[in-house]
Amino acid sequence: MSWNTCLFCYAQERGGTFFGLQQETNFGLQQEPYEGSLLLEDPKGQILISTKVTYSGRYGTNRDISVAVRAALERPYTLRVKKQSALQEGVNTVLDGLDLGARILGKKTDLSPDYGAPELADDRGIKTNEPEFTRWVLQSRELRAVLDANPSFWFQVGPTGPEGLDHLVEARVPLDWHIDIQEEPLDRYGRPLKWERQKAYYRNSSFPKQLDALVELAKAARDAVTAWPMPMKTP
């Protein structure tokens, strides 16, 4: 099923305002291609589900699913916790070794800080502009649980603009590889399935559970960055 059809079914179950079309020709009118978005209501602020193009070239186009929420912080803060990767694990092992060597020589390098969450920092890259505050953020049990259960999920926090204290908290996962979106299901004559059968197809897929988990990650990250006052900045 296409992203738009899956998201439309998700919107019918979870509510919210859906912006998207079925990708098909109607009455001979060729509709413009369109990636659907969904605006979900939440007591702590609206949640936006959409896709983002991450690569486009001769080998095709890659997209991420993005779940974005907003948060107000005391000053500009950036954090990116990348997805799990064996390469990152290897790089961190090398950096740990360099750190250890420097400590033996009596020098402080801090090449591979774990931000108080070594199980996260071991195989995920973590970048931030405020390490002290990030130590508090990564103590969130909910946040760690969602990240542990979903190795391909990652999230980032960043200020909305040059003025004000608004921040965007965004959870992401690659659309094509990790979310259960397949080719349009066809009947034995090669025609698209009827709507009821498409809905049954959607219900049997893992799409709703995976998207729920991504929404949970965005909410957990928002709660984690707003749970504590930001520490005084050292000059």
């Binding site: 079925q22 983002k52 993005s66 907003r70 040059p162």
Partner: protein, 212 residues
């Protein structure tokens, strides 16, 4: 200015819900509060005829109609042509118009404000489609190729960067606000006018705007 910076300053002026960050390159989205549901403003990457992606500005609104209705008013065929005449016929000469209800479409396109907005944006096109086959919920979308959204520079060739006063100045000079206001009004007018008349009902005399 780039899309996110321009949309940020537009959001500061017009309000709504803004989803973007200045530290990432992804295109931001803005939901403007409207009386009949939010308007989504975004800059989408869409595949062209050759398969290469290009960027389009899209303003999208939801509308509820009694029957499924499809309409596409494409961009003007001849750029630079200036007609004094206005009306549905002149509009159809300049633009390719296709719809699922030819009897209803002239009522929508007779709206003088909609005609005026379409004339002001020859590169924009309008599309109304049901969310799915047979649905009463529709999307009204106004689209335009995104141009001049690269980092703009001042008279000395310096980029706006993160300098707030300079960004404000460049935003004011760029015409972004006026362009977005026009596109949003076009989508809103099309939505209001298209959802006003039930299918098969002729609007009363005097309520039809413009000349046919």
């Amino acid at each position: 200015m780039n899309w996110n910076d321009s949309l940020y300053w537009y959001w500061r002026e017009r309000g709504g819900e803004f989803f973007a960050s200045m530290v990432w390159k992804d295109s931001g989205l803005l939901f403007l509060d409207m009386p009949m549901g939010p308007a989504l403003i975004q800059c989408e990457l869409v595949p062209g005829r050759s398969g290469m992606l290009h960027r389009e500005i899209a303003i999208t609104l939801r509308a509820s109609m009694e029957q499924p209705y499809y309409l596409i008013v494409r961009r003007e065929r001849f750029s630079g042509r200036e007609d004094e005449e206005s009306g549905v016929f002149e509009l159809s000469v300049r633009r390719n118009i296709r719809s699922s209800d030819p009897a209803r479409t002239p009522y929508l396109l007779q709206n003088p404000r909609l005609q005026e907005l379409l004339r002001a944006e020859p590169g924009a096109w309008l599309q109304i489609s049901p969310l799915q086959t047979g649905a009463q919920e529709h999307l009204v979308s106004v689209r335009k190729d995104a141009e001049h959204l690269e980092e703009s520079v001042d008279s000395r060739g310096r980029a706006a960067g993160r300098d707030v006063p300079n960004q404000r100045k460049l935003y004011a000079e760029s015409g972004f606000r006026e362009q977005m206001d026009g596109l949003v009004e076009m989508a809103q007018t099309a939505r209001d006018w298209a959802s006003l008349w039930p299918r098969g009902h002729r609007p009363p005399d005097g309520m039809q705007g413009g000349s046919a």
